[in-house]
């Protein structure tokens, strides 16, 4: 029998993988995947709790998150393209123009 705990643990694992991906990788496309993974980990938790608590509000939140994620990817990919055009390089560690 799957309980809400299992879903929560899976969600936590997915979130941790996403976060680690974001922190470790230097390719911005892979980093976006990490971000998507984290967002979807959260979505999973929302859906699980919505089902468990019989409250549909959690599922509504998922739609909002999906919308925001789509928008965020669009902006992010545009930035990546712009940066690539300017510098011929999209290595995140090289992009440090705002260094203090």
């Amino acid at each position: 029998m799957l309980t809400v705990t299992h879903y929560t643990i899976l969600s936590a694992i997915l979130f941790a993988i996403g976060a680690l991906t974001f922190l470790i990788r230097r390719n911005p496309l892979i980093m976006f995947m990490g971000i998507e993974l984290m967002l979807n980990a959260v979505n999973l938790a929302f859906v699980a709790f919505a089902r468990f608590l019989n409250n549909m509000e959690g599922q509504v939140f998922v739609f909002i998150v999906l919308t925001v994620a789509a928008a965020e990817v669009a902006v992010g990919l545009a930035l990546v393209v712009a940066i690539f055009r300017a510098r011929d390089n999209v290595d995140v560690d090289e992009i440090d123009a705002l260094k203090g």
Binding site: A19, F22, L23, V92, K99
Partner: protein
Amino acid sequence: MSQYLWLIPALPLIGAIINLLVGQRLPRALSSWLAVAFMAAAFGVSVSAVANLFALPPEERVIHETLFQWIGVGSFSVNFAFWLDPLSAVMILVVTGVGTLIHIYAVGYMEHDSDYARFFTQMNLFAFMMLVLVLADNYLFMFLGWEGVGLCSYLLIGFWYNRDNLSVGTDEKFLSPRSSGTKAFVVTRIGDFGFTLGVLLMFWTFGSLAFQDVFPKAQAMFQVGAPVITIMTLLLFLGATGKSAQVPLYVWLPDAMAGPTPVSALIHAATMVTAGVYMVARSHVLYSLAPTTMAVVAVIGVLTAFIAATIALVQNDLKRVLAYSTISQLGYMFFALGVGAYAAGIFHLVTHAFFKALLFMGAGAVMHVMNNLIDMRRLGGLRKIMPITFWTFLIGALALSGFPLFSGFFSKDEILADGFSRGSIVLWAVGVLVALMTAFYIFRGVILTFGGKPRWKEGEIISSGDENAHDEHGARGLHPHEVSAVMWVPLVILAFFSIFSGYIGLPHVLGENWLGNFLEPVFHETPIEISAALEWTLIAVSAIAALIGIFIAFRFYFSDPKIPARLRSYYPGLYSLLANKYWVDQIYEYTIARPGRWLANAFWLDVDGRIINGFADGLGRAFRGLAQRLRLLQGGYARGYALAMLIGIVVVIAIVVMRP
């Protein structure tokens, strides 16, 4: 009656505005004569207003005209309102009449100056302010004019702001026009501060500043000698000492001679410097309630008359002799006011305006044809070359010295007679001594300037003390000639009044004191009780004093010219005391100007520069130093920021979860 008093000050104001806006683009003649025309129009309106005033019965001779409310706070109200009574009637006739003549003269005097529009703008603006001063119906409106004439005085003294040294053909060093203007402004400011305090005290005491409220209230509320009235009048008198150049604030007037000569004639002889006399006479109700102040006024007046007359004895610059003479004559007027002879003071104000303006304009005519040379040691022999200037100047000198039957004789005699019967015999004796010195120094001026042999050569190039002087007139050699008609006609008219204006105030034994009767509804003076024999004696004494002074001047500078040098070597200390003007300028320099400058520097460099600036700068520096360290946190690695965010979120969640 239709309201048109406001036209009197408004006309010169319109002239000033026109010349200010378009004057420099107009031809010189149009700009100059426009200024004259507006002054003449103001004179015309003044005459008609005074004629209307005359039509009223003597005790009702007041025309009160309110334009609009200026300040209204609760029950306190100040209006732009004009007040024409016999006292202001006399003043507006003098200001517009003498002012018009001086404007006409200035057209000739300024014929070589390229800045004619600025000159006539400021002259007309001055006339406006002066007319506001004498026509105002309350002290605040009067103060507006009072400050305005001070401003115009400052502007016109510094008219030749780009020249450093105006002394021509002499080794004497005078202040530059800029510094002279500043000095005049700052010194009179001290007096104006007293005036402001006096007006504030008046508002505090009476709750009003209008003449028609203050004077009846003062008479109803206070006994003679009330302390608050004494303080109020002393503060107002401090303002008068600044504006009218009395001890201890007279030092600015001699340096004011750095301005063009028509300015000296208009502002520093005939009108502005008499503002203090007018103000005290206007406030005579208050002054009559304060015997202490009256004594102070009389003593300061006599002291000023004496000090200025002694300094005038040894000055070499003709305009400065006249400047000290003006201070001295103003001293006479305050002496008269101080003994309660207000009408006598105003009488002397009127005659003095005529003959002193005449003398200044005569001196200006000499400067004009002598390439600005005015040092009497280098003049001489101009009697034949400029006969009209000579004869009119001589008439002015006779009037000033109180030669019998000239205007100054009657007015000075009335002051001395009143001073004798109401004041003290000591003050009277000093006054007679001053009359003697007056006759001496002015005839010294006449003889040295016009008499004897020329001490200059035809075609001589006079070296100017200032290479910035761009006066094309000065580059040529000396070729003195009689001045043009535009300059001598005003001289002749003023000479006429210098002789005959005395007959409006004849002494009791000779006839009717017409001016005294005209002013009687204002001042309500009790006529002096004096026997005919005594009055004749006093007339004889002042006449003899004048004659002795004139005689000594002829003896010293005409028949036996070695005497002055011999006297100077006998009494070197006395001579240097007088030639250095009692070192008053130096004393003020060391006791007030230098400590003041030191204090200002200390506030500027130390208090403001170090402490306040240091605090503000230090605050900025501290934050910048902090930011220098904080910015190192921004490493520029996007993954570093992410890690920091993650750690931060974890920590926050941990705190929330762990919270009991």
